[in-house]
């Protein structure tokens, strides 16, 4: 019966606290950006749904354009996050590997 039991993961990676706090701050910053985008979308839908019918370009209305933007923005922000964190961690983990060899 696999799956009924679980315990701690692999030993934790060694990350220095500076990297951790920088990543956390970056994460919260990007989160705020997305929160503003998503919040804007939700409030626009709630309090002035008629605006969502306005055509923006190529015969697409604001509802479609904003909706697609939110989906693409999630991906782009995740890319930015992964890319900015990666530099730190890759140098970090290569140090670790060097130390362990």
């Amino acid at each position: 019966m696999a799956g009924f039991d679980h315990g701690p993961n692999e030993p934790e990676e060694q990350e220095n606290s500076e990297t951790i706090s920088r990543n956390t701050r970056l994460g919260l910053k990007l989160f705020t950006v997305y929160l503003a985008l998503y919040g804007g979308f939700v409030f626009l839908n709630t309090f002035s749904p008629a605006k969502m019918e306005v055509v923006v370009f190529a015969g697409l209305n604001l509802a479609i354009v904003y909706g697609f933007t939110l989906i693409i923005a999630a991906f782009v922000l995740a890319l930015i996050y992964g890319w900015s964190c990666r530099n730190d961690v890759s140098s970090d983990s290569s140090n670790n590997e060097g130390a362990s060899q």
Partner: protein, 651 residues
């Protein structure tokens, strides 16, 4: 509706399900240890893991519920897509990394590692159980929606079948949704949704859609005229002396604007509608009448497929294309959306009338709707509030969007795959691939939903079947493949949830909280008993909730998860003053308040108890807006009241 099974479809379906199940068992057997299951030895490639994220997350609800909601109500269904994806941002940016740094798999583990409190174990176990069961309901309802058009069985048979199969699997072997199985399912779902979308664009739009080789029934809409005059309608309908047309305004029929037409001894109902320009229309409807002796009448004839019997017509079409075209031919991506915006489409409304003698008549009537409205929010009756000035409707909408945003990170099973890769960098890359895959799929849901809306294949009685029926309107093979993928997704999700909840019962409730000493044999036996009990509960609820859109049910699961778990999770990670009492009380408060709110809401009154929704106690149906802040507030207040003395903090 009654469905004729096709042998080829059943064979393809059976083949794919058998292969996936076989693979699950084979790979599952190789990963028997707990660490093998959860962490897969830390050796999964980040790309595989990322697509597996999608395989985990894109459950039956995502596929069936969203497509169905878009097919019946347009843009409103897409709001769920946006909300579900936005939840990943919370999970990635705020929750996942600190949690992984603690070296814990789930939120219950993380809470436990910090506090070792029996109260927290109890709270976490109960909340896991409740959220799992809430999340099981839509999966079971979805299973029924898949089986009905494929094998022709009624809904409850589908639910029973899936329930029984899953209970058998869990009790005999324990199916493990390994990363590779989820990778396979995630990829297949996305690939075949892409195929479906391409075929929809190739087919283009038509005012007379062909449904798997058959033309669609065109419902008559008479009008516009300047007044609602019965003699005028009679002449338009070309009635002779033996026919009759009577306005219905007595008892349950009052203010519903139906006319009863009797022609050739066959009864039909016609609906009078008034446009904003004070023009009147008379529309042909279809109806399902359930007599007290259990027999079912459709449009004046007994339901069935033989001579002298009939069934509800499949529906869903464009009534007017721009420039009076009747067919567009193949369309591009933006062209498809802009054509729909300029068209007029037929959406469907329904009215249920309970006669005094116990007969129940459900009338389905066409609602011509402009493409502009279809592609903007507020068509769904539950979202209609945002187009009015009424505050409660707007708050209901805000509440739902908040719950979707906060729910993903709070689901017990979703972040587990964050731990199956070797380091943080790979975990982040996986999440990016996951968000990309899920986001891409959600963009496709809009096209699949609108494709179903215009396919002429919809079952007017059930929104959940829209996606499989759309595939069926294109071809049996596509229908079989897509149903098989969705079905194995249901099996995987259901068995995973049942294992998680029986695990919560055995580990957290019995062994940790009640301190019952058990050997491994006894643990496994109790886990199996718990699995059967949870499975049976899921089957019963799945049958009860047949006519709810699965997506709406997932919205509830997200609300309960976010209210109970999110405050504890966020504060544990970011507020050093959090105490174990604060967390325990917050979990219970969030869970109980959101459950109570849902059970007292207008939707439950209408859908579960059959009471007048206007008498519901709470002012709007979605609890999140009230209960999530309530959870945070409770946690902060209780934590501040139970601060340990400074010496205890140091120890």
């Amino acid at each position: 509706m009654i469905y004729e099974p096709s042998l080829m479809a059943v064979l393809i379906f059976g083949g794919i399900v058998a292969i996936t199940l076989g693979l699950s068992f084979w790979l599952g057997a190789k990963a028997k240890s707990a660490k093998g299951y959860f962490a897969a030895g830390g050796g999964i490639h980040w790309f595989v893991n990322g697509v597996a994220f999608a395989g985990d997350y894109l459950s039956a609800a995502s596929f069936l519920g969203i497509c169905g909601m878009i097919a019946f109500y347009g843009y409103d269904g897409f709001l769920y897509s946006i909300g579900y994806l936005a939840g990943w941002i919370v999970a990635l940016f705020v929750i996942a990394e600190p949690l992984k740094r603690m070296g814990r798999f789930t939120f219950a583990d993380a809470l436990d590692s910090k506090f070792q409190s029996r109260g927290i174990k109890l709270a976490a176990a109960i909340s896991t159980l409740v959220v799992s069961i809430f999340y099981l309901i839509p999966q079971m309802v979805g299973a029924g929606a898949l089986i009905t058009p494929l094998l022709g069985f009624p809904h409850y048979v589908g639910v029973l079948m899936v329930g029984t199969i899953v209970i058998l699997i869990v009790v005999t072997a324990g199916m493990v949704s390994t990363t590779y199985v989820q990778f396979l399912k995630g990829s297949l779902l996305v690939i075949f949704s892409t195929v479906l979308t391409v075929l929809i664009l190739q087919r283009g739009l038509s005012t007379d859609p062909v449904n798997n080789g058959k033309p669609t029934h065109q419902f008559q809409i008479i009008g516009p005229t300047a007044s609602d005059n019965i003699e005028h309608w009679k002449s338009e309908l070309k009635l002779n002396d033996n026919d009759s047309l009577i306005p219905l305004d007595q008892g349950a029929w009052a203010k519903k604007d139906f006319l009863q037409l009797t022609r050739d001894d066959k009864i039909s109902y016609w609906k009078v509608t008034e446009s904003p320009e004070k023009q009147y229309f008379l529309s042909e409807t279809q109806y399902k009448q359930k007599n007290t002796n259990g027999s079912i009448i459709i449009n004046g004839l007994p339901q069935g497929t033989g001579e002298g019997k009939t069934d509800l017509y499949p529906v869903g079409r464009i009534s007017k294309l721009p420039d009076d075209e009747t067919e567009t031919g193949p369309l591009g991506v933006t062209e498809f959306l802009s054509k729909i915006r300029e068209s007029e489409l037929i959406l469907w409304g329904s009215d249920t009338i309970k006669e005094k003698d116990g007969t129940v008549i459900t009338i389905y009537f066409p609602k011509p709707t402009t493409g502009e409205k279809v592609l903007s929010p507020g068509n769904h009756p539950k979202f209609a509030g945002i187009r009015s000035d009424e505050m409660w409707g707007k708050l209901n909408f805000l509440s739902l969007m908040l719950a979707l945003f906060c729910g993903t990170a709070s689901l017990p099973h979703i972040l587990i795959r964050y731990y199956t890769v070797k380091d943080q960098a790979s975990a982040r890359k996986s999440t990016i691939v996951g968000i990309g895959t899920i986001g891409y799929f959600y963009i496709l849901t809009l096209f699949m939903g609108l494709g179903a809306m215009t396919s002429g294949a919809l079952d007017v009685t059930n929104t959940n079947m829209a996606a499989p029926l759309l595939a069926k309107s294109i071809g049996d093979w596509l229908f079989a493949v897509i149903s098989a993928i969705a079905f194995t997704t249901v099996l995987g999700t259901v068995s995973g949830l049942i294992i998680a909840s029986s695990g919560a019962v055995v580990h957290d409730l019995m062994s940790s909280f009640m301190k019952i000493e058990m050997n491994d044999f006894a643990k496994v036996r109790i886990a199996k008993i718990a699995s059967v009990v949870v499975g049976v509960i899921a089957i019963i609820l799945g049958i009860l909730f047949e006519n709810f859109n699965v997506n709406y049910l997932v919205g509830w699961a997200f609300s309960v998860a976010a209210s109970a778990n999110l405050p504890a999770l966020v504060m544990l990670l970011f507020w050093p003053k959090t105490t174990k009492q604060g967390i325990t009380v917050a979990i219970f408060t969030g869970m109980v308040s959101s459950l109570t709110w849902i059970l007292l809401s207008a939707d439950s009154y209408k859908g579960i108890y059959g009471l007048d929704p206007k008498t519901a106690i709470v002012p709007f149906s979605q609890p999140g807006l009230v209960t999530i802040p309530l959870g945070f507030l409770t946690l902060i207040v209780v934590s501040l009241l139970t601060q340990p003395k400074s010496t205890e903090i140091k120890s």
